[in-house]
Symmetry: C2
Subunit: 214 residues, 2 copies
DNA sequence: CTACAATGTAGACGCTGTCAACAAACCGCA
DNA sequence: TGCGGTTTGTTGACAGCGTCTACATTGTAG
């Protein structure tokens, strides 16, 4: 909201591109993507209305950059959760990944909203397409690994992969965009309760081998 | 695109509200929600730019009306699929409902895009909220019925319901908005292949009792 | 030190949603 | 039939938006 907090205002901002991305995420978080305007961001950052165009050719490019960041971080969080198990059991890993993705989405609503937004994907630039591709390939490899370890062996991999990706995606969409479906889950404040729910849902996707922790 | 096709143009359009909704759906279908403008619709229908405001207070109201229509039709398609089984087995019904919803979403992309759009839900009016509530209550009752028939009896109903709703929702989001996740499913044209995939995925959510038809 | 590139500014354009004032057509009622 | 009020559509205005162009300032490589 403030023009700048730390350094005194000079002609050059210093790192306007990063500031724009940060401010954009904050606006999407509190007011939604529809409320995002380049001029509004410029005002908030105390620069002229044309300044953002020096860093992003147009609004679609800004949203693509934001979504690219989102997929990259989502993949980090998801694979990070798999590594954190310290296990090489494919079921254990994939279970942790489902929980990890969902946890990340619920804690990074602005980025998730952007990355799941229909119009953002419609105008995706090459960077974004590549980030999506990296994500989906990484997940698919892990899904395939569970199948070779006897998870629904007779189901086509394509269908199993779609199912596996659909659950965290669908849950996040329902919880973040359609509050109605979280009506009974009225303890949003209680992180332990949220964590329980995440685990219960992901258990239905990837039954953990021996009710392992996390 | 044409001003009017049947009746010659007169001062009063006759049924402008319905024409606006229809045209809006067509635009969303081909160009996405972002490309939807009240003035553009008015131009396409051959009326003045202010005419739509007589029927919808603002753009958000138009989108709410469209989304309300979407949820209502989605519920009809979903429950209709359950009835069409002619069975009273809860598993059979819920399986058909999952397929029915997904089939509807893939065949009515404009309405699905609208009903799943974050900003549409943010500015939902009372009608829309009620339609969403009706939908979610109806589904939840069916989910509860499967649980009393031994579907994941030890899982909290809330989590089971979220999981069950998340799959068709997530699949539709992935297939409609993120073409990447349908990369290998390159036979979009072939409806039989699509139908197979729907069934394979829903089988993973509600195992049909004895591989029933439909 | 000086040219050049990068970055920010200022103004303009056409587009948008929305509002208010006005006009035409429909409808109930005599 | 004629008439008054309501509904529906038109027109013009306004501010805000994204984007473009010309210009100003700053950092930097030579």
């Amino acid at each position: 909201m403030e023009p700048m907090t730390e350094t005194a205002k000079s002609y050059h901002h210093g790192n306007l591109a990063a500031a724009i991305l940060e401010r954009a995420a904050a606006i999407i978080d509190t007011q939604g993507i529809e409320a995002l305007t380049l001029r509004g961001i410029a005002r908030d950052l105390g620069v002229s209305h044309g300044a953002p165009n020096r860093h992003f050719l147009n609004k679609a490019e800004l949203l693509s950059a934001l979504a690219t960041d989102g997929w990259t971080r989502a993949l980090e969080a998801t694979l990070g959760a798999a590594e954190a198990t310290g296990s090489d059991n494919a079921h254990t890993r994939l279970h942790a990944m489902g929980c990890g993705f969902l946890r990340w989405a619920l804690n990074n609503r602005a980025l998730f909203r952007t990355l799941s937004h229909p119009d953002v994907n419609r105008y995706a630039n090459d960077d974004l397409r590549e980030a999506i591709s990296s994500y989906s390939q990484a997940i698919k490899a892990e899904v395939a690994a569970t199948q070779t370890e006897a998870r629904h062996p007779s189901v086509p991999l394509e269908a199993l992969n779609l199912f596996t990706n659909a659950v965290p995606m669908g849950v996040a969409v329902l919880l973040i965009n359609q509050a109605e479906f979280a009506a009974d889950h009225n303890d949003w404040e209680d992180p332990a309760r949220t964590e329980d729910m995440i685990k219960q849902v992901i258990d239905l996707v990837v039954p953990p081998p021996a009710s392992a922790a996390n």
